[in-house]
């Protein structure tokens, strides 16, 4: 019981720190880095529903980010629809696309599924790069879309300072973490884990593995697309190379694999560790050695896969459990 109380106290403490951070961190640069950190933690947690629980390795999630970003941006630029509404429309669109991709591909195993998702995401990027107008919708091809920073305010999902963005992405992140927690303790969570680990055994136990994976894919694409809208409103500029890029898909997978796929804490830990590496390597090596962060990621990934194949969350959660037990004994 005492352990549970301490755990609750630690969780509340972390939440207080997360919500209080902008009061201490006044620098826009650091807030920007934090927002991106949460954004990647959010993206990876959404990815984790398929890539972690369902046991496949999707490497094209940037496609859903792109669908979310382009849908809300086009709707708000051309039709004046609030990005909040566009966010939902983008999510629904991404869900449909996710299910359509999932239907044929989720039956594939291992590398074939990964390759199929890469192919789809790259296909989408090339298409968007080559389409200036999709019917009446202006996509503006490789030049991308700029969102003029005219109407700030909550309904326009546009703010002059970084703080509101910080809180929005923080709440989104907490929401997706709570959702993941609930799913992991539900029938769907059990079925996804079982189907991911031993599909034949799972089927014999009454699990329709394909359907469970499809449900996870649908949720994951929806949630990922929401982050696309957020990214568009945060940077106010989207173009295919930045938002439907393989770099983005790979970085999500890197964070998940290093943090720990299939766990709830893994994606957050991965983002905490890797995002600063990514940002600071761009700050210090951006001119001389662009792409340095990917080399560091690769090295870290090799080391983690060799020594902690379940990701960094495993030794860390074990250490945390030990600490809890010790605190509970000697207050």
């Amino acid at each position: 019981m005492r352990q549970n109380q301490i755990h609750t106290a630690v969780t509340i403490g972390l939440l207080l720190v997360a919500f209080g951070l902008p009061l201490i961190v006044r620098s826009a640069t650091y807030l920007h880095i934090l927002v991106l950190l949460y954004l990647y933690a959010y993206l990876t947690t959404s990815w984790n529903l398929v890539g972690g629980f369902a046991g496949v390795l999707p490497l094209g999630h940037a496609a859903f980010v792109g669908i979310g970003a382009y849908t809300s941006t086009v709707l708000s630029l051309q039709y004046g629809i609030s990005p909040w509404l566009g966010m939902i429309v983008g999510g629904i669109l991404a869900t449909i696309v996710g299910v359509l991709i999932g239907l044929p591909t989720l039956k594939m195993r291992g590398a074939y599924f990964a390759l199929a998702t890469i192919a789809f995401a790259e296909g989408l990027r090339v298409m968007v790069e080559n389409i200036d107008y999709l019917g009446p919708l202006k996509l503006n091809g490789p030049r991308g879309l700029q969102i003029p920073p005219m109407n700030t305010g909550f309904t326009h999902f546009m703010f002059a300072s970084k703080q509101p963005y910080y809180y929005i992405i923080l709440i989104l992140l907490i929401g997706v973490l709570v959702l993941t927690y609930l799913i992991s303790r539900s029938k769907l969570g059990y079925y996804l884990n079982a189907g991911g680990e031993e599909p034949e055994a799972a089927m014999a136990l009454g699990v329709n593995v394909a359907r469970a994976k499809l449900a996870a894919m649908a949720m994951s694409s929806f949630l990922t697309a929401l982050a696309g809208t957020f990214y568009a409103q945060f940077t106010l500029y989207i173009h295919p190379k930045s938002i439907i890029s393989l770099d983005l898909s790979f970085e999500i997978a890197f964070i998940a694999l290093i943090g720990g796929r299939g766990s709830i804490a893994g994606p957050v830990l991965g983002a905490l560790l890797l995002r600063p590496v990514s940002d600071f390597s761009r700050i210090y090596f951006g001119d001389t050695l662009p792409g340095m962060h990917l080399i560091i990621f690769g090295t870290v990934l090799i080391l983690v896969m060799l020594y902690q194949p379940r990701g960094l969350q495993e030794p860390l959660t074990r250490a945390y459990a030990k600490l809890l037990a010790r605190w509970a004994k000697n207050p």
Binding site: K187, Y190, A201, M203, A204, G206, V209
Partner: protein, 241 residues
């Protein structure tokens, strides 16, 4: 009443006929044994019945309904469960988690599923290991876990594929007791086994197959004295018994 009836079941893999016009049936509450040399087609017959492979020809009825070509998960929900010869535990999860996956077949609530799973773990004398990761279990416990998971789906018919292979004699005896206990609780059991001592002690009737064909059927004592069976499978030692 017949709970399972297989008529002229045939399964071809390319040019190889693995099961050849096999017919058999199980009465409710019985234990039926299926024996035969390695490669005789026992597991293939099981896989056809459990929906893993669609049969090439023949019909399978379960509880009066034709189940040819039905999917394993649907069959499981209608009360037909099976274990695997090569055990397939969800290795990174605890025993309790493994069994709970099975009990979700009859409920959507986690607390109900977990309670049911705990009940079955107790029933199989497994309670002390419920938090152990399935990947760390001994082979005997993995076989027991296979049964526990299958049982958690609340089957009417349970297909056991060599659940005693690799066990020590004392563990075999315990498994025999467990299987009899399940039968006494109303589960019909269809069992593939190589350990003659166990299959003779368990079965009400035994079907013997060789090269996919049935070569004998009868009570354990009839089978033990059948000349074809002795020649094909049992060996001369069993002729005396």
């Amino acid at each position: 009443m017949e709970i399972l009836k297989v008529t002229d079941l045939t399964k071809d893999f390319g040019g190889l006929r693995a099961v050849d016009k096999l017919s058999l049936s199980i009465e409710k509450g019985q234990i039926l044994g299926l024996i035969g040399p390695n490669g005789a087609g026992k597991s293939t017959a099981f896989n056809c019945i459990a929906g893993v492979y669609p049969p090439t020809a023949g019909t399978i009825t379960f509880g009066g309904q034709k189940i040819n070509g039905k999917k394993p998960w649907d069959l499981c929900k209608s009360g037909l469960a099976r274990t695997f010869q090569i055990v397939k535990p969800f290795a990174s999860k605890s025993v309790l988690y493994n069994v709970t996956v099975g009990s979700f077949a009859t409920t959507n609530r986690r607390d109900a599923a977990e309670a049911k799973a705990l009940e079955i773990i107790e029933e199989l004398n497994f309670a002390d290991k419920k938090e152990v990761l399935a990947g760390n279990l001994t082979i005997a416990d993995r076989k027991r876990l296979e049964i526990a998971r299958a049982l958690a789906t609340q089957p009417r018919l349970l297909l056991l594929d060599e659940v005693m292979a690799g066990l020590r004699p004392s563990e075999v005896d315990e498994m025999v007791q467990i299987i009899k206990h399940l039968r006494d609780n109303g589960v019909t059991i269809f069992v593939i086994e190589h350990i003659m001592r166990a299959i003779m002690a368990l079965s009400d009737r035994i079907v013997v197959i060789q090269f996919g064909k049935k070569i004998a059927e009868g009570t354990p004592s009839q089978i033990a004295s059948d000349e074809n069976v002795i020649k094909a499978y049992l060996g001369e030692d069993y002729a005396v018994a």
